[in-house]
């Protein structure tokens, strides 16, 4: 069984008439990084909510189909149960701080206290994840005194400390400056290498190309395509969905640099170089 299974998922927000998610079907394997791309109205965030159980438990509305995370049917369990299997980090680091804790260390503890972990286990996990996210040095600071990038890494640490199977990152760098984004992407790279199952929603296509094993292309709530980054970014109709491929792919298209025997273009600089040299 796959870690995430989505079958015929449909959803509409309360008091609205349009389906935001319209018949989605896909699965995510353990250790895989799935990229989700699409315009601002494509339904990317709503899909993240549906995976984490916020839809339909926090946002009610109309719901159809089935989402299974780590064997749990999301519809049938409370959010508090689901979050032990799947964690969500979103764009605004500021509103992800609980606002009730005085230090970064205590901030990370918040979720663990709610889970009812024993004290020793809490300390072990907090230390581990603060170090993993490279925010151990600021552990005694007030979370709101951190830079955006640091705050976002604390948000990720807080969610990871609950040790979920899957981590959803919904545009984790869109509110950050270049340095903060860089810091967060370094962490994402670590996590993908470490075999974490990750769902990454991102506007920066070069990052999707770099980290995603497969890419889900959404448009107006519908699943347009689900394939490897090379296949997705080699599509000729991306602009119809309000998207552009990574800059390297655009250049490769212009120069006719392709994988031999296919219609596929490279999506990373390394591949571009390799194919260019072969040619």
């Amino acid at each position: 069984m796959s870690t995430i299974e989505v079958e015929n998922l449909k959803y509409r927000y309360p008091d609205t008439t349009k389906l935001v998610l319209n018949d989605l079907n896909f699965s995510v394997e353990k250790g895989e990084c799935l990229g989700i791309i699409g315009e601002n109205t494509a339904g990317k965030s709503t899909l993240c909510y549906a995976l984490a159980g916020l839809v339909p438990h926090f946002y009610k509305g109309a719901y159809g189909g089935k989402v299974t995370v780590n064997g749990l049917v999301v519809r049938d369990h409370e959010i508090a149960t689901i979050v032990e299997n799947i964690g969500l980090v979103f764009e605004n680091p500021f509103s992800q701080m609980t606002g009730a804790k005085q230090t970064v260390y205590e901030e990370v503890a918040f979720g663990l206290e709610n889970m009812g972990l024993v004290r020793q286990e809490m300390h072990t996990r907090i230390e581990k994840y603060l170090k993993l996210l490279a925010v151990y040095s600021v552990k005694d600071k007030n979370p709101f005194d951190l830079s955006g990038g640091q705050m976002q890494r604390v948000a990720i640490a807080s969610v990871l400390a609950m040790e979920p199977e899957v981590l959803i990152l919904d545009e984790p760098t869109s509110q950050l400056d270049p340095q903060g984004s860089q810091e967060v992407f370094e962490v994402i790279e670590e996590l993908t290498k470490g075999g974490m199952t990750i769902i990454l929603v991102e506007h920066k296509m070069d990052k999707i190309a770099q980290y995603a094993d497969r890419v889900l292309l959404l448009h107006e709530g519908r699943q347009v395509d689900l394939d490897t980054p090379e296949n997705i970014f080699s599509r000729g109709d991306l602009t119809d969905f309000g998207l552009t491929p990574p800059v390297v792919t655009t250049i490769a298209k212009a120069l006719g640099i392709q994988y031999p025997g296919t219609k596929l273009y490279p999506v990373t600089i390394e591949e571009f170089k390799r194919l260019g040299e072969d040619k």
């Binding site: 830079s147 800059v247 600089i269």
Partner: protein
């Protein structure tokens, strides 16, 4: 020709830490990108220019005339400033009223204000959302609403603070078109940016601020070829330049098309080498 001069300006929030000491910049009709790391003083500079802060020393001049006697509200007629966070200004219950707020404040009649507002909304392609509640829109749309609410005031100068943050491809294209249109109308356009690709693609001139000092100020192309100086200010080159470097070329590029042309030329000249 519109000009804005910052002359010998000193400014500090607290006496111990000066932000600017003798800062001098001449903004002219070229569209200008203002880049620099967080804390370099970009936002402080535009607040000074907008009269929201007063310099400790030095002068700010529009077309050679000092603005020191005018309040921010009075300056609003001449200079628009689009803040980074739309949530700090949106308060009306529908998009149209929100965009009309500025024009009405600076003395437009109701009819003119509405016309201006509709025009501005068309530019950000949100004219279909006039009746919606701004808070029913996404953050990136709300950002465009805030942008339109300044455009509608039809000022001689427009300053943008991080307009592209959180925008998708379509949003960035709209902002690009707006900047070019403002330029064509003869307006002074200044833009704070973190997005080097956008700066390289859209702006004629780029100024790099670092710790309150101008360390680079030139045509955009020249500025982005200064790899070492940029690195010192913790800035990156645009991604086309980075790709060129990764491919082993030293030359700097600011447009995709340039790099493609360059690579095509290389292919043609050395068919076996590339």
């Amino acid at each position: 020709m519109k000009t804005f001069t910052v002359r010998e300006v000193d400014f500090s929030y607290s006496p111990i830490i000066p932000i600017f000491q003798g800062l001098t910049i001449d903004f002219d009709s070229r569209t200008t990108a203002l880049v620099g790391q967080n804390g370099a003083g970009k936002t402080t500079l535009v607040k000074l220019m907008k009269g929201l802060l007063k310099p400790d020393k030095g002068e700010l001049l529009v077309d050679g005339k000092s603005i020191s006697e005018q309040t921010a509200a009075q300056l609003a007629k001449r200079m628009g400033l689009v803040f980074q966070n739309p949530n700090d200004q949106v308060f009306k219950t529908n998009v149209l009223d929100e965009v009309m707020f500025g024009p009405l404040n600076i003395g437009f009649s109701k009819r003119e204000a509405e016309k201006q507002a509709m025009n501005a909304l068309r530019k950000v392609a949100l004219e279909s959302k006039v009746a919606e509640n701004p808070y029913d829109l996404s953050l990136s749309e709300r950002k465009l609403i805030a942008l339109a609410s300044i455009l509608a005031m039809d000022t001689e100068m427009v300053i943008f603070d991080e307009p592209t943050m959180g925008q998708d491809f379509a949003g960035k294209e709209k902002i690009k078109a707006i900047i070019q249109e403002l330029k064509a109308e003869g307006k002074l356009v200044i833009c704070i940016l973190h997005d080097m690709d956008f700066a390289a693609e859209v702006f004629e001139r780029t100024i790099v601020l670092n710790q309150g000092k101008v360390i680079l100020d030139d045509e955009t192309r020249e500025v982005f070829s200064e790899k070492e100086v940029l690195e010192k200010a913790f800035l990156e080159q645009p991604s086309v330049s980075q790709i060129a470097h990764a491919l082993g070329f030293e030359k700097s590029f600011i447009h995709e098309a340039e790099l493609i042309q360059f690579l095509k030329d290389v292919q043609r000249l050395n068919p076996d080498l590339s």
